[in-house]
Structure formats: C-alpha cells, structure tokens
Assembly symmetry: C2
Homo-oligomer: 310 residues x 2
C-alpha cells in the first residue's frame, strides 16, 4: 500500500457530498460553497523522518507547511485566506519555534491563523489546514484537452538540489537550500491563469513526473514532455552535475518545487505570460493518449516517478 | 514550558486579525465571517504516546479525533459541517484503519470530509480541522457573570475510569471504555444553550478543574464548585472505588468527557433542561472573585488541575 493507494481507498469510502460541495477531495483542494461564496480547502502534514530530518530548523518546517498549503490554493486559482495549524514535538520549545515559522509564512502569504493545537510528540510533526476563496471558477486537474500546451512556472530541480546539499550536511549552495526550506508558491500566477482561462492546473509537490500523471489521469488524456525544455537554473545544473546527478531527470522527479503546471491553449499561455513576472516555460503538450511520455535528448525515458511518503 | 504556555506564546504573536474574524483563537473555536454567514473553526491533534497508547485501536483514534473537534463546535453553539483530516503512521494499513474511524464519526456527527493528507510517520498521529456554522450568536468563554449558575451536561469521570481500565490492560467495564474511546459530543445541547441565552460555555476536554479555570480567566470572574454535586454514574463510581480512586476528584480532573460546562442565569438553565433529553446538573455558581474554588464534603480542596499534553 503506497501513499496514493491510501488516499484512494479513503476517498472511495467518503459519504455522498452535501450540495454545498462543488468538488470533493482529489484535486489540489476541495471546492465548497460557504455563505454565498466559493471556497477551497486542503491540508498538508509534515513529519520528521519523512519530509525532513534533523537538518531542518523547526522554523523552516513550520514555514514550509504553510507554503505547501498556500501552493495548493494557488493551484486552484484561489486566494489563500485562513489556516489552522497543529504542531507536536518532544520539547515545547521546538513547537514554539515551528509556530514562529508558521507565523512568518502567515505574514508573507497574507493568511490569518484561525487557531490550532499544540501537543507533545516523539518527533516534530506539523499539520496545516487552509481555506482560500475564489473570484473565478476553480481550475481543476481534469480540464486538460488534447492540443493544450503544458507549461511550468519558475524553475525546477532547485529544491531537490537543496535537499541533496542538506542531506550531505551542508547549508550551501545557499540559494538552493533556501528553495528547499522556504518555497515560494505561485499565488499571483495561479490567479492570473484562472482569470485568463487555463484549462487545468496542479502544483508541483511530488515532482513533475508524478504530478503530470495525476493531471492526465483526471483529464483522461496523455501528454508528451520534452525534458530538455525543463527550466533548470545554472546553479542548480552545476551543483547537480557536481553531485553526479542528471539535472533534467532530477528536475522531473525531485519534487517540492511548488511551481505550477498548467495546461492551456497556446494563446492563453501567451496572455498569462504577458500578465505575470514569473517565467512560464512550455515543456510539452497534451495528447489524446492515456499516459505521459517523457523524452530526453530525443529518446523516450520510461518509468519516471515521483515521491512516496511511505 | 507547558501546553497552555505554548498556546499563549503563539497566540500573543498573531498578526492583527482581518475584519472577517469576529473572535480570534483562544476560545473553543475561532469565529469568522465567510460569505454572508458566521462560521466557527478549530483543530485538534492526537498523538500516540501522549493522547493514547497501544491499547487504542486506530479506528477509535480516528473517531475520537473527529469527536473532539465536534465537541469544540458544540461548545460555541454551532453545527458541525466539514472536516479536513491528516493522518500518519509507520504502516499505511494503520492510517487506513484510522481513516475508517474518521469516516464512521463523520457519518455519526453528520460532518463531511473535505479532504486532508496521509503520510508515513514513526507513530500514529491524526489531526482534524473542523468548520461549523452558527444560526445564533456564538457562546464564548468570556460571558460568565457573578450570579450565573454553573451546570454540566451528562456525566463526568466515566472517560477517565475507562482510561484507567485500558491502561490496566482490560476492555471492561465496556461502557466506561467506550466513553473513553468513542465520546459523544453534546451538539444538540450546545445549540439549545446558544438559542436560549446561556452566558458562557466550554467543552470539558482537559477536565472540569482546568476547563472552568479557562472560563473564569476569560470572563474575569471566580466560581465555587461543589464536587459532591458532580454527576458521576454508579458504574463509574464503583469501578473507580475498586481502583482506589476518589470518584469526585477523578470526575473533576480526569478530562476527555467531552461534556459541556455552561454558565447561565437559573431560569435559562431551567429552559435548556426542558428542551433537551441530556441531563443538566448544577454544580456551582459564578462569583465576583478571580479563582475557582472547589469544595468536597464541605471542605476546600486546593490545587486541583487538569491535563497537560507535554
């Protein structure tokens, strides 16, 4: 049983959703009518020994837990608004440090902490639930159509490169380590994409190879991704090569970049690009098939997969 | 640093609440305007080795995590509506069993699971965030006034007695064990109390001695509690005596009964009693002082305290 199997088994047993639920669990966020408005909701739990090790300062763990949730709201085209945060650790001081990071992220992303819980625990754990609201229709994973282009925001692989540095015991290259510990979700791009008519969107948390598969599965389509087109920054590439890694494959599988993957007609991609300062790179296209295909240097790469937290 | 100190230190650093926030963290739930409606929100995390041990089946842990949150909504006079649930364990099968209990509780309390997260973890942990809505003004902890009577719903001490049995390695007395593992929050009484004009309300999760102190602190009042009046069921009393415990003191400090404590004028207590089937027992009165006073057999009992999760 792997992580997605647990989620699938759990979701399949959900009761019938009440009328207020527009989109049940299974996308980046659920979508629900509250009052007269449309809201999105999600949760993410980070656990010591799984998502991070002793190299992660508790402040960064708290910050990242909020950022990961903000990214889920961004992937719906939503505006992050409120969080509830629960944290546990052996030492109350560590919980407090984690909560300091939570509050930094709350200020940074303009979300307000409605409350939460603190407790003792054998290892640091933090869970964040988020509420965001929508001023447009939500962008789901299921709206990709053959002919759409696939584009990613920002850059890929920097977070994974930072993780490799942290696991090796270093804090450098500092920019890459910061990309891993303090990701910057793409709220403005997500909102622009929703307003300008993107077909489908997902945030890149498990890694492009895994996340594009979710998007294809829910849209009932396939895709071709050209790994040579993935936006990998020079310092990421140089560091990964120095650690004997293939940069494009790390960028495709590394996870935790918290960039957005969009499927949209070519002209929509162009309009979104004009409206935002974040680079938007076309990396492939949606096909009528049922599987993602990845090519590297003109040759097909098989069995690319992302992250599993079990 | 103890649990409440962490929460206090954390809350003191919150940013200024946005206009939508009617009541920030610090009560059983926060209160917030979403769309044109008033909603309440809270979260509770249960951790292996702190809130339960190996004697707790994962299904019961999941069930109880939802029930504890439903109780927080009940204590505001709210209607529980949606939860987000994150769970972690070494074995995905254990997470699934925990989520089965979550879904049982969702059906039981008519809340819908909007989603959540699952992950590996070194020990079972589950965090539930809940949203409920209000059809009345929220009942806060801060509305107790001198002259109000203090009343509790249902019965006290049964959950603590069940815990003692579980810790001793038994599953009997079955009723008491069930009271500990599968608490029944008092949603209907909470709603009636809010509609009929109760002054203040809190749910009994940490234990009456500790929870009534929160209520007094936030209301700026004292109280007198007559421990001889606490509603302790016959089987609870008999079992506790057989384990050499003083039943009234266990009932006052044991925690996790998930009953409600209300402060209200005498006539309001009478009206609420007429409208619900759950017993409502007057156990004391609010005073102009600043501290709770507890009496047992006519003598003052000092230093009664509840539960600390660190």
């Amino acid at each position: 049983v792997r992580e997605f199997d647990v989620i699938r088994a759990f979701s399949a047993r959900f009761p019938a959703p009440p009328e207020a639920v527009i989109e049940p669990a299974g996308d980046d966020c659920a979508v629900v009518r509250l009052g007269g408005e449309t809201w999105v909701a999600a949760a993410d739990m980070l656990v010591s020994g799984r998502h991070f090790e002793d190299w992660a300062p508790p402040e960064d763990v708290g910050y990242k837990a909020v950022a990961a949730n903000v990214s889920d709201v961004a992937a719906m085209g939503g505006i992050p608004r409120f969080v509830l945060v629960s944290g546990g650790a052996p030492d109350p001081e560590v919980v407090l440090r984690c909560m300091e990071g939570v509050l930094e992220a709350c200020r940074e992303f303009e979300v307000y902490p409605l409350g939460g819980d603190t407790t003792g625990a054998d290892a640091l754990v933090v869970d964040v639930a988020i509420l965001g609201n929508l001023e447009t229709e939500p962008i789901l994973r299921s709206g990709a159509r053959p002919g759409h282009l696939l584009a990613v925001t920002g850059e890929l692989g920097a977070s994974a490169a930072g993780l490799i540095a942290l696991q090796a015991g270093g804090r450098k290259p500092a920019r890459l380590v910061a990309r891993h510990l303090r990701p910057r979700p793409r709220v403005a791009v997500g909102r622009a994409a929703a307003r300008l008519g993107a077909g489908a969107m997902i945030d890149l948390s498990d890694g492009l190879a895994s996340d594009v598969r979710h998007l294809c599965d829910r849209s009932g389509v396939g895709c071709r991704i050209d790994l040579d087109r993935l936006p990998v920054a020079d310092d990421t590439r140089a560091y990964l090569l120095s650690r004997v890694r293939e940069p494009r494959l790390v960028a495709a599988t590394g996870g935790e970049d918290y960039e957005l993957l969009l499927a949209a007609p070519e002209d929509v991609i162009g309009t979104i690009r004009e409206e935002t300062e974040v680079p938007l790179t076309v990396v492939g296209e949606v096909t009528p098939g049922s599987q993602p295909e990845f090519a590297l240097g003109g040759r097909v790469v098989a069995n690319l997969a992302g992250w599993d937290h079990f």
